[in-house]
Every structure is written in structure tokens, then in C-alpha cells.
């Protein structure tokens, strides 16, 4: 107890090299001005089926840039949402300057000087910069309800000058680029007297020059004592900016280190170093002929120079961070986005690039958002199964219910879809079974190339294993599969080989013997 008290007096600097310790319950006498500016202790948060955060502790000190690192789904965003009052933790405590703090709403968080800049901005497009900065806190004129515009624009100018953003505060926000909007968000946060600024991948959409400018602003904020929590996927940034680095993995805190004590390789290892999971392991079979061949593909959705092949009997992974362009590649190949360059060959034939054409020639896209894009939720299981093959099954244009029923039943049997009858509405099925209905639909349409976009998103562990058995069955029968997944474990254990994407391009192809999580992360990160 004494040791704890003395360390508190010395502040966080003194114990930065200490091993993680168990924190004893704190009495009022032990509160201290040198306590961290803000502290989250033992935070747990559960969502249906997922332990998003498991006993995570996190400290924020004045004038420090604290980098928060982790793979997709490691719990970074959830932790920050607990901090800013968007979520309430199931367990754990918050401390502000060493005193218990209750944060139940975003307003509570603001009172503690916490401001978050999410990747999705909270700006109103048709108000100007000044109106956005002071939204809800407009300087009031003597006339009730009116805004003191003179002060509004003067104050806005002052905030903008503080971060060196030289622009007329009367500019409507919808005329600004992403980088400028981000600066407005920062000005907005500072105008609320933010002492703790959380930035979620702030450089994701910035150019190099804009990034430099942001870093300069961050350095300046740091000088003035603002604490910054910085979520990033770019290792270079982590070392350029960070005073402290905390790594989360699977909802748990793995390490909290100083940049000098670690290396990029260490961090990658910390991020992915989970126990090897062999649940999905499958037997390797020699692939057959090339089914899908893509060359130099570019689309108007931001991808370029995409080249890949998928052979019969193989599962090819397509990985990379969220936003790296994986879904866009799938959409371009299937013809859902406009292709601006390159060639797609399906079973040796060039295809035109429309979803109808792709589907007719035997390609199937099973989208990530199956509820919106893959299923007619209000219709029955049977209706959904025959939906993509109506032309083939009923060339005369007359619907024959008996024939449709037989096809539906065949799909239900083949994929073991858990439904009492083909007439059940698909909306009442579980996520895993809905996924199977989508697959059955394409099987019935005689597809040979399947593109799965995040096939296991939102389904539980058992359903996942079943999903992979199903994908395995498909390739056993001679189909080729391109599988997009954010979960590197899945890619490593399910796929025969994989492509890694970053910023709209394929940055590496990993053959069977190179396919490890560390390699995927290393390629997918911005170094």
C-alpha cells in the first residue's frame, strides 16, 4: 500500500517501467494531483456473442500522445466509446485526476474535457465553418434566440488561427475537403476546451502534406498540455508521434510500452500473437484450371492495378485493413461498380462487367451486408433460393411452383439449412442460416466462382465452422472461392493463398507457405 501511495506521488513518469500491477481500491486520502489526467480501470464490455473488452485499463497523461493499436475488432473503438460516453461499460471504473468519474452520456464526457474525432465527422454540410464549430454553443446576442454573429466569427477565427488553419470561417463545410473538415473538427473540439482529444485514424484520408500539418498541430496541442489518444494502423506514425503505445488484442490489453522499448516487428507480434487456432484447418488439394483471372483492374471506386487469379478447387484470401479496397475489388469483378481499366476473364472468356452478365456466366457475389444486398428478407427461404435462377429454370417466363419447390428443397437439404419448410420467411432464420440461403441461391444458379465478402461477420463460432465446411464443400466440387475477411486467423487457416491490399492496391501475394498472420499484418500496414 505504501509503495502504491508513493508511486502516485511521483506521478506516472516514475512508474513507467514498473510491471503492470494490481490496483488496490483507492481511498479519498490517496487522491492526488499527480494522478493521471484520466484513467480507465478494469473496463469490460460485452455485446451479444462477443466480449468486446475484457478487463482493460488505460491511462491518459497531460501532454502525452498515447497510441492505441490493434487489429480490426481488437476493441479500440469500443474502449474509446466508453471513454466518450457513447457506451456504458459492464464493469470497471473511470478516474479523472484520481477521482471517480461517472460518464453516462456524451455530455458527461464533455464536462471532463473529452472530445472525440471519429472517422465519421459530426459536421453539418450546409452550415459554415464557424456555425459548425459552435453548433449548440453559439454566442448569444441580446435578442433572444439570435446569434451574436460578430462574436461567432471572431471566436471561430481565433480557434482556426490557433491550429494554423487559414480559411474564411464563413465557408460552408460541404465545400471543404476531408483534410479541411478534419481541421474543423479539431477546432470544434478545442473550442469546447478539450483536455483529452481522441482521434480515430485521423490520417486515413489525408495526403502526406496534410498529414505533416496534422502532426505539427498535434505537437502544438501537446505543448499546451492537451492529451491525445491516437488510434492508428500506421506503424510509422506510431513511432513518429507516440509517447506511449498500448496494444489491444481480442478485447484485452496486451502491452503498454514506450516507443524506445519496442520495434515495429515487436508491435506486429503483439498485435497478432494469438494462440494458433486449428479449428478451420483443411486439407490441401492441388488446384485445377484457372476460373477467374483479373488483370490491371481499376474501378471508379478507388482501386487500381488489381491482378489476381482463382483456380478451381482453391480458396483464395483477399485481406487488408478495413477500407483498403477489398469490397471494392469484389464489386468491380462482379460488375457492380464501373470498371475503368483492365480485364476480367471468367472461365477463359472476357466478361462485360454487369452483375447480370457475371451471374449468368457462373459468378456469385455473397456480400458482406447480406440483409441489404443478398436477401429478399420479406420473402420465403424457397423464393430466395430460386431468385437468381428464374431465367434458367423458367425460360418460358411462367413460374412453376412445383419446380421451384423442388429446387428449394434440394438447396435446403444440400446445405442443411435449418428451416422447417421452404415457405418460412428468411428473416426469421439465424445469421448463419441466412448466409446459407444466399449460397444456396447461387448454387442453384450453377455458379462456379464464389466471392465471399466477410462470410462470418455477425455469426457465432459454431456457425462459422459450418460456414467454412460449406466453403470447403464448394471447392471440393470444383468451384473456386475468393474470400474477403478481416480476421487474419480465418484467412490463414481457411485459404490456400492470399492477396493483401492496402490503399486500393494489391501489395503482396502470399503463397501457401508464406501465409501467416504476421505477414498479412506487415504487408497491410502502412510502414
Amino acid at each position: 500500500m505504501d509503495r502504491l501511495a508513493s508511486m502516485r506521488h511521483n506521478g506516472w513518469n516514475a512508474r513507467r517501467c514498473e510491471k503492470p500491477m494490481t490496483v488496490a481500491p483507492e481511498s479519498a486520502a490517496q487522491r492526488d494531483a499527480a494522478a493521471p489526467l484520466f484513467e480507465l480501470r478494469g473496463i469490460s464490455k460485452q455485446f451479444p456473442g462477443v466480449q468486446a473488452l475484457d478487463d482493460v485499463s488505460f491511462e491518459i497523461a497531460r501532454g502525452e500522445v498515447h497510441m492505441l493499436l490493434g487489429e480490426n475488432g481488437a476493441g479500440k473503438s469500443t474502449l474509446m466509446k466508453v471513454l466518450c460516453g457513447a457506451y456504458r461499460a459492464d464493469a470497471g471504473e473511470l478516474f479523472h485526476n484520481g477521482e471517480r468519474a461517472e460518464i453516462a452520456t456524451p455530455a458527461d464526457a464533455r464536462r471532463f474535457g473529452i472530445a472525440v474525432i471519429f472517422q465519421e465527422f459530426t459536421l453539418v454540410p450546409y452550415l459554415d465553418i464557424a456555425q459548425n464549430i459552435f453548433l449548440g454553443r453559439e454566442p448569444r446576442s441580446r435578442l433572444p434566440g439570435f446569434v451574436d454573429r460578430k462574436r461567432l466569427y471572431a471566436d471561430a477565427r481565433r480557434m482556426l488561427a490557433m491550429i494554423g488553419f487559414d480559411i474564411d470561417p464563413r465557408t460552408p463545410v460541404h465545400e471543404l475537403g476531408v483534410a479541411q473538415q478534419q481541421l474543423v473538427e479539431i477546432a470544434k473540439a478545442l473550442s469546447q476546451d478539450a483536455r483529452i482529444l481522441v482521434m480515430d485514424e485521423p490520417t486515413a484520408a489525408l495526403s502526406d502534406r496534410e498529414t505533416e500539418r496534422l502532426f505539427a498541430i498535434i505537437a502544438q496541442l501537446k505543448q499546451s498540455g492537451v492529451a491525445i489518444v491516437y488510434i492508428s494502423h500506421r506503424l510509422a506514425e506510431v513511432f513518429a508521434l507516440g509517447d506511449r503505445i498500448t496494444v489491444l488484442r481480442d478485447g484485452r490489453k496486451i502491452a503498454s510500452v514506450r516507443p524506445a522499448e519496442t520495434s515495429p516487428d515487436d508491435l506486429v507480434r503483439l498485435m497478432v500473437g494469438r494462440a494458433v487456432d486449428r479449428t478451420y484447418a483443411r486439407e490441401y488439394t492441388e488446384p485445377g484450371e484457372v476460373l477467374l483471372e483479373v488483370e490491371n483492374l481499376a474501378s471508379d471506386n478507388g482501386i487500381a492495378d488489381i491482378g489476381l487469379t482463382v483456380r478451381a478447387g482453391e480458396i483464395v484470401g483477399l485481406c487488408g485493413l478495413v477500407g483498403s479496397g477489398r469490397t471494392e475489388v469484389a464489386r468491380a469483378i462482379f460488375g457492380a461498380d464501373r470498371v475503368t481499366a483492365g480485364e476480367i476473364r471468367l472461365m477463359g472468356e472476357s466478361i462485360a462487367g454487369s452483375p447480370e452478365d457475371s451471374a449468368r456466366r457462373g459468378m456469385a457475389l455473397i456480400p458482406e451486408n447480406r440483409k441489404q444486398q443478398g436477401l429478399a428478407l420479406g420473402r420465403s427461404v424457397g423464393d430466395n433460393i430460386v431468385l437468381a435462377s428464374l431465367h434458367r429454370m423458367f425460360p418460358s417466363g411462367i413460374f412453376v411452383p412445383a419446380r421451384a419447390g423442388r429446387a428449394a428443397q434440394a438447396g435446403i437439404d444440400q446445405l442443411r439449412i435449418a428451416t422447417p419448410s421452404p415457405h418460412r420467411p428468411v428473416s426469421v432464420l439465424s445469421g448463419g442460416n441466412q448466409q446459407k440461403v444466399v449460397v444456396a441461391k447461387w448454387l442453384n444458379a450453377a455458379a462456379r466462382v464464389f466471392i465471399f465478402d466477410e462470410p462470418t461477420r455477425g455469426i457465432d463460432v459454431g456457425a462459422k465452422a459450418e460456414m467454412f465446411r460449406l466453403i470447403d464443400q464448394l471447392v471440393q466440387k470444383g468451384a473456386g472461392v475468393l474470400m474477403i475477411s478481416s480476421e487474419q486467423t480465418e484467412i490463414v487457416h481457411v485459404c490456400d493463398r492470399a492477396y493483401v491490399m492496402r490503399a486500393g492496391r494489391i501489395v503482396g501475394a502470399l503463397a501457401r507457405d508464406e501465409l501467416t498472420e504476421a505477414n498479412i499484418v506487415r504487408l497491410g500496414m502502412h510502414q
Partner: protein
């Protein structure tokens, strides 16, 4: 503001200039001072509805009940005026009916989360039904003298409806661009989450927006009643259609809180000129609706084409 004016002016302004040119050529009676003044006078009622409709549409909402609420308010005005002989009381009754329905719309949409289309379709039915019940389907006549002056009179040589129209436009301009309430309306459609995070009671703002719409329908009922010197249970039918058309033609978008009050004013004039011009050419009122419908689609098509990169 100025840049917005330059880039968006053409659509609705070109439509207005073209319509005026076509009607001037087609009919010598169109481009006379008295007819143009007529157009302004006749457009006032529509303007009184289109101004608040702009705000409501900016919140990604809609108010289909305005015409029916105007009708009911007009009947309340006429009945109160006949019963009490007091124009002031009668106007208060009309405003109360309008405000009441506006608040009802607001509560249905903002507090009970009923989609605006459905909520205001419901209140349209209620208001229309009550109008027919209250009047037994007959016109209410015998309003004390003096009320007509509101529509037919003039102040310093300027017809009173024109003065009312100018004042209403100025009031809404100030409300939308100079007050906190106005900023929050932009935010309701543009980024409601931002408004919530800023700690503004977004539902209250939304209710207030619909309440303004209802109150304006009640106020417009005053002009409508004065114009006919009677109240008729079908007087306001379809006015919401003209109002929505004027807003849409004026370039207010149904998304992202992108509204433009000056555009609405021009849109109202476009609808007014079209109706007046078609009247002069002896096109029946029923067919005029088709013309307005076509105009709305044309305007939105042009806007859609122009906003494409």
C-alpha cells in the same frame, strides 16, 4: 451565400424567365402591370405555406397536411367571426387550429417516430374530415365586413398581401440564417447526430419546425378567408402540392439539410406565373396541376444533371 446564389440561381431563375417570356408572347394580357401585381397577390398564400415547408423539407421531413389544416383553420375563423363578431378572436381561432395541428404533426414525427409522410397524411385526413363535419360540406358565409380588407386592401398604395408576403419572407430569412433555431434546422437534415452530440434537444427543435408550419397554415387561412369572404371545406385542397412543388423547383434538396429560401421564393413565383399564364390561356385548373407536376420533374432532372461531376 453569394457563391450558392451564382451556382444555383440558373435552374429556377431560368424557369421563371422562360415562363414569363413564353406567356408574354402567347398572351398580350400577361405582361401588364396589373396582371403581374395579381400574380404577386395570388402567390402570397402559397408563399406563406412554402416558406415553412422549406424548413420542414430541410429536416428531411414533409407536411402533407398544410392544405387541409388551412381549410379547417379558415372554417374556424369564419365560424368564430360569425358567432362573436370579433375578427381578432376569429384570427386567434385560426392560428390556434394551425398551431395545434402543427404541434400534433411534430409530436407524431419527432416524439413517436412516425415517418413524416404517414404522420402528416393522417393529420391531412383528420383536418379534412373535421372540415366537412363542421360545415356539413357547405360554404360558411356571412362573415362580418372588414375582413376582406386584409386581402383586397392596400397600404401606401401597395396591396396588403404583397406586404404580408415580403414581411413573411424577411421573417423566415432571419429565422433560418440568423437564429440558433435556424442553424439547428440545417443540422437536423445535415447531421442530426452532430446536433445530439452538441447537446441540443433535437426532438424539440423538430417539433417546433412542424409547429411553425401549422401556425403558418393558420395564418394563411386568414388571407384565404379574406379573399373569398367565406370559408369552404375544399378551399385548401392540393395547396400542399403546390407548396412542395415550389420548394422542390426552388432547389431545396430533400437530403443533407440543403435548403435555399430565396429559391423557394422564386419557386413560388414560378408556380404562380404558370397558374396565371395557363388561366389566361383558358387552361382548366385541373390541367394546370399536370403542368406543375411536369415542371417539378423537369426542374429536379435538370438539377440532377447539373450536380453530376
Amino acid at each position: 451565400m453569394t457563391r450558392g446564389l451564382l451556382t444555383r440561381m440558373p435552374g429556377v431563375a431560368i424557369a421563371l424567365v422562360l415562363l414569363i417570356a413564353v406567356f408574354s408572347l402567347a398572351n398580350p394580357n400577361f405582361a401588364t402591370l396589373s396582371n403581374l401585381q395579381n400574380i404577386l397577390i395570388q402567390s402570397t398564400i402559397l408563399l406563406l405555406l412554402a416558406l415553412p415547408m422549406t424548413l420542414i423539407i430541410m429536416t428531411e421531413g414533409l407536411d402533407l397536411s398544410m392544405g387541409a389544416v388551412l381549410t379547417l383553420a379558415s372554417i374556424a375563423l369564419a365560424i368564430t367571426a360569425i358567432a362573436t363578431g370579433s375578427i381578432a378572436l376569429a384570427v386567434a381561432a385560426a392560428l390556434a387550429v394551425g398551431l395545434g395541428f402543427g404541434l400534433l404533426n411534430g409530436v407524431l414525427v419527432a416524439a413517436l417516430d412516425i415517418p413524416p409522410f404517414i404522420a402528416t397524411l393522417g393529420t391531412l385526413g383528420i383536418a379534412q374530415g373535421l372540415s366537412l363535419v363542421a360545415t356539413d360540406g357547405q360554404s360558411v358565409v356571412g362573415i362580418p365586413r372588414g375582413l376582406q380588407q386584409v386581402y383586397g386592401g392596400a397600404f401606401a398604395g401597395v396591396p396588403i398581401p404583397i406586404i404580408i408576403g415580403v414581411l413573411a419572407f424577411a421573417a423566415f430569412f432571419v429565422l433560418l440564417y440568423r437564429t440558433r433555431f435556424g442553424s439547428y434546422i440545417f443540422a437536423l437534415g445535415g447531421n442530426r447526430e452532430a446536433l445530439k452530440l452538441a447537446g441540443v434537444p433535437d426532438r424539440t427543435v423538430l417539433i417546433a419546425t412542424y409547429a411553425v408550419g401549422g401556425a403558418m397554415a393558420g395564418f394563411a387561412a386568414l388571407l384565404m378567408t379574406a379573399r373569398m369572404n367565406s370559408a369552404h371545406p375544399t378551399a385548401g385542397i392540393g395547396l400542399e402540392f403546390d407548396a412542395i412543388a415550389a420548394v422542390a423547383v426552388g432547389g431545396t434538396s430533400f437530403e443533407r439539410g440543403n435548403g435555399w429560401l430565396t429559391g423557394t421564393l422564386l419557386g413560388v413565383l414560378v408556380v404562380g406565373v404558370l397558374r396565371n399564364g395557363l388561366n389566361l390561356m383558358a387552361v382548366p385548373s385541373s390541367a394546370q396541376v399536370a403542368g406543375i407536376g411536369a415542371l417539378v420533374i423537369a426542374a429536379l432532372l435538370i438539377d440532377g444533371l447539373r450536380s453530376r461531376p
